[in-house]
Symmetry: C3
Subunit: 191 residues, 3 copies
């Protein structure tokens, strides 16, 4: 249940950030779908491949339908959304927070190596955005002097630490995710 | 049988497009092999990893021998081939068409989620070329305003639609592949 | 035993080369960890995914602790290390040599296709460095006119050839690795 909520949340907001990139570059609708889906499911796909579990979106069409709906939304309301502020970076921040926790949680569910769990959190959180930026030839947040990987690191680390000392899954996820979002959000506000 | 024909066709033409990139950049023969093999087997490797089936070229040396022969051919006849027109883009177009159908077909052979099948077709068709362009630091067709992902989308979607309503595998593959190739080929001719 | 020695050696030196990139770009410590880990475990991760075996670093925290220690070292002594010469390229060369042999050896341990084994050697040896360069937006050695992929090719090919005619694993690994390192080292010295 926790896994599914976090996965759908991560997919939706990362898909949104991918569609916004397509919108800025004035690409066609298929490119919206491409970037939304790539960014939305990229991180979780890497996580599941490395952990050796079935890739989360292959079993049914639900996750892809989410990416499709997000693409349609940004296709029609992209200009409006852009005027609200920094939608790409905020969506990316929410996805980063949700997936940092989710990657760590899923890793702990198949093994008990804590550093591996933290790394899986960071990788899941950052891989979709890196893919998006590399293929769109944008400069990735990873090599800029701002808090990005660090936020994912704190989110995943907090989750693993709390969960290891016996806190419940939801509590650990909420605290870890909130910390990651605060850190990353602060960087966006300042920068 | 259908799978093998499409896989060998996709590998051969994508390998050709990779070798042409190496030829244009005047790289050494090992780099020809590198780009030919990377582009040739990249898309199908991603497909098989995500579907959780054995990677198609690992069981024997056949596919790699194809990449080797293509590299040798382009090494000796690259200059001649370039004068014929736009060999890289046409080889890429044929590979795109064959793999859009092949990715969808293999996905339907291990599951029944139709959107997943279409996505696997698009991913298989485009991933090899994206790898080639990212590593060669060329601008990928994906972010240019031309029909590329769309063609793969139409090819995979047509295959899945026809196959789902009961058409045979070969018919569905031929119609889907021909549609994808027409769309992509038209874009190359105009552009 | 041979596998573990080569894996730890490859991880350590590739992690070092990743941390040096982070040091040159004056990134924060988390970025050191990111580049060190990505470069350190990237090649072996690709190898294990394609071969369909468990990813080598997921079972325990040992490999990640190596990446952490290397990051701390470069964080404190990066400037000193840079003055010694070309640390990034030499570390990359040692990793390339170790992993060209290791990738081929692991492939032969799960199958008997010799070209596949050579390719797995080359892929394992070069993938970590390619990831590092693509994400850091550096020009990859792969598309420069110098001996890079060739060295990995010679290392993997020599290992496979010697092992196939009955030489022991350690002998084959030493000869293959030494040849790859000589070739790559010569290119670094000259260029």
């Amino acid at each position: 249940m926790l896994f599914q909520v976090l996965d759908y949340l991560g997919v939706a907001v990362f898909a949104f950030s991918g569609a916004v990139v397509a919108s800025r570059k004035r690409l066609d609708f298929i490119a919206f779908l491409f970037f939304a889906t790539l960014t939305g499911i990229g991180g979780g796909t890497l996580r599941d491949l490395i952990l050796g579990v079935p890739v989360f979106w292959v079993g049914g069409d639900g996750y892809l339908i989410v990416c499709f709906c997000v693409s349609v939304f940004v296709w029609f309301f992209g200009g409006f959304v852009e005027r609200l502020g920094k939608p790409l970076r905020w969506a990316d921040a929410v996805g980063l927070s949700a997936y940092s926790v989710m990657g760590a949680a899923k890793a702990l569910s198949v093994g008990d190596a804590v550093f591996v769990a933290v790394l899986m959190g960071v990788a899941t959180a950052t891989f979709g955005g890196v893919l998006r930026d590399v293929i769109a030839r944008e400069s990735s947040a990873i090599i800029k002097p701002e808090i990005y990987v660090s936020a994912a690191f704190v989110g995943a680390g907090t989750y693993v630490a709390l969960f290891s000392v016996g806190a419940g899954g939801w509590i650990s996820a909420l605290v870890g995710g909130a910390l990651a979002l605060s850190l990353r959000g602060g960087a966006i506000q300042r920068g």
